[in-house]
């Protein structure tokens, strides 16, 4: 088992190398002149040349690539052009709010979505099924920030139940932390819930049609154990795949959710960097988030062995 994990971890390296090549090519072969854009309007040619030299943009492209990759291998993502601090430490400082938001969203969304999907499949064709599918279609169509402002309007401005915006670290207490994360997690999680509930329902319907499910019913297994132990366990692999792939939705949504609710996380770091054209930050966060995505999907791959012994070996 340890051997498998080490081998899979190593298999991340080529994927991340290709990610690095893609990011570099897309950002460096773009037609615009980044130095001129970063400098803004009303600047002299010397100023632009200075920025170009600072970013190493005056070097040949292949050399820029090697310098960048060499730094990446040492965990160096460059320095912010505005703050001057290393990008990696800026990301580390902002990691706690983003991780909190990601954690609450994942836990709530996955539990809720699988529950909804199982329920819809068990009661297929009834109003329960229609409500779940309705939520699913809506979740795909309403953008994160529209859901976010809708929740803020109802639960903060009208009912005054929860704060409008902001973040409280866990060190100030569990309840303030949770109160501030409740609305952002719902807003961020809705599309994810839609995705997982839909795939859960589809795969559960396929499994429920299997012969061994009829046998389970015939020998008198109670409904709950039948659905959870017999059916859900066999539907777990496709669901886990979508849980992993759907993390892409969460990563994109984090940037917008943190803006709506003014949460000082990694997403805000990127959005602030847009206005300042601080592109080492944008590039660094892309690499980190891509790494997270690849890693989460690796964990999902490894989890298959828990659900399905046939995958082992």
């Amino acid at each position: 088992m340890t051997g498998t994990i080490v081998r899979r971890l190593l298999s991340m390296l080529p994927v991340m190398a290709i990610v690095a090549v893609c990011v570099f090519l897309l950002l460096h072969l773009a037609p615009g002149d980044p130095a001129a854009i970063i400098a803004g309007d009303n600047v002299t040619a010397e100023n632009i040349a200075l920025i170009r030299a600072k970013l190493g943009l005056d070097q040949p492209v292949w050399k820029q690539f090697l310098v960048w990759v060499w730094a990446l291998l040492h965990g160096d993502l460059g320095s912010s052009m505005f703050w001057g601090d290393p990008v990696i430490s800026l990301i580390a400082q902002r990691a706690a709010p983003t991780l909190s938001l990601a954690f609450t969203t994942l836990v709530v969304a996955v539990t809720l979505a699988i529950g909804m999907g199982v329920l819809a499949a068990a009661r297929v064709g009834t109003w329960v099924d229609r409500v779940v599918m309705g939520i699913s279609v809506t979740g795909f169509s309403v953008p994160v920030f529209v859901v976010g402002y809708g929740l803020v309007f109802i639960f903060a401005h009208q009912l005054h139940w929860l704060p409008v915006q902001g973040y409280r670290p866990l060190s100030e207490g569990f309840l303030p932390w949770l109160r501030n994360l409740t609305l952002p997690s719902i807003a961020l999680g809705l599309a994810y819930v839609a995705l997982i509930a839909r795939i859960t329902r589809t795969t559960m319907l396929e499994v429920l049609a299997e012969d061994y499910m009829r046998t389970a019913r015939a020998k008198g297994v109670a409904v709950a154990p039948m659905l959870l132990k017999h059916a859900l366990k066999n539907a777990a692999v496709p669901i886990a795949t979508v849980v992993g792939n759907g993390v892409a939705l969460l990563i994109g949504g984090v940037v917008i959710t943190e803006t709506v609710f003014n949460i000082p996380g990694i997403g805000r770091l990127v959005v602030d960097a847009i206005a300042r054209r601080d592109y080492p930050i944008i590039q660094g966060v892309i690499m980190v988030f891509s790494g997270v995505y690849v890693f989460v999907n690796l964990l999902v791959d490894l989890s298959y062995t828990l659900f399905d012994p046939r995958v082992r070996g």
Partner: protein, 276 residues
């Protein structure tokens, strides 16, 4: 007429989705006829609630929300359609080649895996911020992350079709590769591409709104649903119409495109993993 009615009854999702889109498209095309000036500032009329003079009220600068929403539809539709067309054109070419020539396939698919791992909204943010803001660059930035999805889809169709006896017959009959691809393989990709195209349109409209909302979209002087919401974010409690008029429109248009896609998928009978 009865033929059209029968079509609507058998395909309600296609009909509802198409009608909603048609209404928005007509409003967008004839915007100057139905709406006033979206840029006109009337400071004395700030944050007015919806009324006969201002159907959807006014924003914090006294601009007419209805006029801005109607003009905003233009950007959403242009970006959504352009991204779908361009990503399908590029993805189709790469996918056909990758499915047919195995050596090309090995290299290209590794790059597609890499591209798929990059969060698309971040990649788009980076591309837009490194160039002067324009509608064109927004389209390019949203198109690039969509291409691998099309490539995968087309490639999987080609890999299935190329094992069919009629391809074998064409090969042994001496047809050139170009003819086999264009005459015998390409037609099988059309139905799944139409369905995938609608989903890409929906996702492109969503991403464009997100980029505009974050300030990494089209130039700020062009009204879009995303930058309308961003501009009004401080007034959500006092003037909810400034946020929810563009927000609800955005959701309805994306819902319409998704309904159309689901309807077409069922009607054309293509088995597709929805998104992802």
């Amino acid at each position: 007429m009865s033929g059209a009615l029968r079509f609507v009854r058998r395909n309600p999702t296609i009909a509802v989705g198409a009608l909603m889109l048609l209404a928005v498209a007509l409003a967008a095309v004839f915007a100057p006829l139905i709406a006033g000036d979206p840029l006109l500032l009337v400071p004395i009329d700030r944050l007015l609630p919806p009324s006969a003079a201002h159907l959807l009220g006014t924003d914090h600068l006294g601009r007419d929300v209805f006029a801005r929403a109607v003009y905003g539809a233009r950007i959403s539709l242009i970006v959504g359609l352009s991204v779908a067309v361009v990503s399908i054109a590029i993805g189709l070419a790469i996918g056909l080649a990758a499915g047919y020539w195995r050596r090309f396939d090995a290299v290209v698919m590794r790059f597609m895996d890499g591209l798929m791992a990059i969060p698309s909204i971040l990649l788009a943010i980076a591309l837009v911020s490194l160039n002067r803001a324009s509608v064109g660059i927004v389209i390019v930035a949203i198109t690039i992350p969509e291409v691998p999805r099309i490539v995968r889809l087309v490639r999987s169709v080609v890999l299935t079709v190329r094992e069919m006896p009629y391809i074998e017959a064409a090969v042994s009959g001496g047809s050139p590769a170009r003819k086999i691809i264009l005459r015998h393989i390409l037609p099988s990709t059309i139905a799944p591409l139409i369905v995938q195209g609608t989903y890409i349109t929906a996702s492109a409209i969503l991403v464009e709104a997100g980029l505009s909302f974050l300030g990494a979209g089209v130039p700020p002087e062009i009204p879009t649903w995303g930058n309308m919401i961003a501009g009004s974010r401080l007034y959500v409690g006092r003037a909810p119409w400034t946020i929810f008029a563009p927000g609800v429109l955005l959701a309805l248009v994306i819902l319409a495109v998704n309904l159309l896609g689901d309807g077409l998928r069922d009607r054309l009978d293509v088995r597709l993993a929805r998104r992802m």
